[in-house]
Subunit: 427 residues, 2 copies
């Protein structure tokens, strides 16, 4: 049998295997979506995925990250109250072969559901309707975890054993910086390549933007609401600064010409996510504290950007009669996401690209994403090539009615299975 024929036979066997596994894939994703696992509260879902890994015959390792090892990285991950009852879960498939090793990573933690009234199906429902599975975490990224798990399972059910070690990871705390993925790297789990099954809509993502979390303190001058003109409203001053930051964002967008970013309407978004200010409805508010996230692209230096951002705030403050003498303050929070990228001609990219092309007959989309992710830890701390590839639309992540199209999920399972075979080789 020629290599081409061999691949065709294998692809057919994998496809059949995935088709047979569809009910199990859906059931596994429903099970995970129905267990809340907001960042900090990952235990229940991790126990569930550990059981799935054991059922698939993987050697399971589960451990709570050691906060002392992470403390040198406190700027880029959130340590908070530590990691008691917040285990990482790894499923290991050791190989005697000489193939390349592979880490398939996903994070188990989700953001909060937000206002449940905005959801058509409750965020913990796992409801399936018109080919989509709904719930918080369905696409970001319990879907990806399930895809990884069943890709390896489908490959082995089809009769192919990877010729390199495969490390299946379900890590914690991605949403606030990636303590889980980093802890796995620091524990010594490395491989020749890493795929993170974030929802990329089946695009290959070899570069992601970074993000810095900021807190903006805006001073005001309190006064009785009845004589509000005697005071200075920190809420109005905040609105002025926010407007200025959006203009700064627009300028930064205009300066980016990298074709990987061509399709992104907002390549370096500056989002103000929370605001809190004032103490009393009938007093002029004397403070506003706002927290937000500023996006960066690969190649940008975090320290340089911080200076530019703070400089923008200073420039705006100086132009305002009140803020000039009552300067707003920028604070940088932990949970920094540095931007990261691997070369577009990396073997990881080309191997997955070839698998994709054989499956579809066309070239995959290769794009950058604006959001920060655990990829940076694998690339920058782990020194491993890493890319993101998975089912689902990132625009639904963190949003009401988060959901994943099941056909796309099954495709991700199939392509990932073929990629494992291609990357590690099979025995």
């Amino acid at each position: 049998m020629s290599q081409t024929e061999h691949r065709r036979v294998r692809a057919r066997a994998i496809t059949e295997s995935v088709t047979n596994l569809r009910p199990q894939i859906v059931a596994a994703l429903q099970e995970l979506v129905r267990i809340p696992s907001q960042t900090g509260d990952e235990l229940g879902a991790q126990l569930s995925i550990a059981t799935m890994m054991r059922d698939h015959g993987l050697d399971v390792e589960m451990w709570e990250p050691d906060h002392r090892l992470l403390e040198p990285h406190a700027e880029s991950v959130t340590i908070g109250n530590g990691f008691a009852d917040r285990p990482n879960v790894l499923g290991l498939l050791h190989s005697d072969g000489a193939g390349r090793s592979l880490i398939l990573n996903g994070h188990i933690d989700t953001v909060e559901p937000g206002d449940e009234r905005a959801w058509e199906h409750p965020p913990l429902s796992g409801a399936v309707k018109e080919g989509r599975l709904y719930g918080r975490g369905s696409c970001d990224m319990k879907g990806g975890l399930v895809a990884n798990l069943f890709a390896l399972h489908a490959l082995r059910q089809a009769g192919f054993i990877p010729a390199g070690d495969v490390i299946m990871q379900s890590t914690i705390s991605e949403e606030d910086g990636g303590a889980g993925a980093l802890a796995a790297i620091l524990r010594g789990y490395v491989a020749d390549g890493v795929v993170i099954s974030e929802p990329t809509g089946l695009a290959l993502v070899p570069a992601h933007g970074g993000a810095l979390m900021f807190r903006l303190h805006v001073p005001g001058l309190s006064a009785h609401a009845g004589a509000r003109d005697e005071g200075e409203s920190a809420i109005e001053k905040f609105a002025y600064l926010h407007h200025g930051l959006l203009q700064f964002e627009a300028r930064r967008n205009r300066e980016i010409t990298d074709p990987l970013y061509a399709e992104l309407p907002n390549k370096v978004p500056i989002n103000v996510g929370t605001i809190h200010g004032g103490a009393w409805a009938s007093s002029v508010p004397e403070f506003v504290v706002a927290e937000g996230r500023a996006g960066l692209i690969p190649g940008e230096n975090l320290a340089t950007f911080k200076q530019e951002f703070a400089g923008e705030i200073s420039r705006l403050a100086v132009a305002d009669p009140w803020l000039r003498n009552n300067l707003p303050r920028v604070e940088w929070l932990n949970g920094q996401f540095a931007p990261a990228a691997i070369p577009i001609d990396s073997p990881l990219v080309s191997t997955l690209s070839e698998v994709w092309t054989r499956a579809y007959g066309t070239q995959p989309k290769i794009i950058a994403e604006p959001y920060g992710a655990d990829m940076r830890h694998f690339v920058m701390t782990g020194g491993m090539p890493c890319l993101m590839f998975g089912a689902g639309d990132v625009r639904l992540a963190h949003a009401p009615n988060e959901s994943i199209p099941l056909e796309e999920l099954f495709t991700a399972v199939r392509i990932t299975a073929e990629f494992i075979a291609e990357w590690c080789g099979v025995m």
Copy 2:
């Protein structure tokens, strides 16, 4: 002795008496300022003022308002968790004479100190510097309470006994609606006239604006911060609505021509005092809740204004592509302050005006104030003529470095003493 001579002798005696009482006046105000008495926590300061009243030979009555009696008025006062440990304190001077009776009212509760770093002298210091006494409540309105107390004391020390009943009131809960003053009225304390010693800068204030407390709920659409253009920021939508409300405020100001309001730069201020929105720095905020206070002038109907305000929000919402289909919501809070006024030729106004003119040789300023006050309860529920008159600058109320000029306070004591004599007659 002619009546004019009699008045001159009396004024001289009162002035001498007040001069001798200066150290005691300052000490009493310091004592009260040093006892925190934020709304809800009035007990300590009330026990202190009750002792002062007893020391001045008044019959003291102290009782906790009955929340069941106030519940029919729940729209205009705050009942909250009730009034346990929150007594009203009254000091009564019964008279056998046939003169007019008088209530001298002040509230013991203060707003919170705010950011203590903004204060030159700590908010509980009672520090005296360059003729001013500093601290939260010094002008709003522990100064007024002390002025009332020592006005009666000075009059009696000068040898004059009021020919009508005098009821000295230290009431609670003014800052959140006036449950204390209202409870005193409902308990049956009425008089032929009421003076509230709010800080009017020694102006006579026979009319005050009203205020409605609102809560504005602004919806957004959550999305991952990295794709923020997919969401709708409730913070940005709030800023749009706030801007519109300030234009509405400007229009309302232009329409007011009442000369009582001529000196006020902002006759009907709309203040947004608190803001709270968003759940996560890296998500587009899906809600903002803001609370504020809208000012009204006498003659305005609360219900009509509410309709206009809500109509303005609707008009703004309809002009916005997102808000049009996701309407913001206006909620009206308890603690409504209706505007109130008494006729400018009321005997209460003319009597105090004549006293003032004899003391200064000029006409007093007679103005309206934009802030709501307990005056409305006395006028509207109690059916009593009421005006406000006292030392201190209301622009310092609720602000950092709240303070009261002591010379002005002593003047208020003296004029109030002469007013008691004139209003009640003396024996």
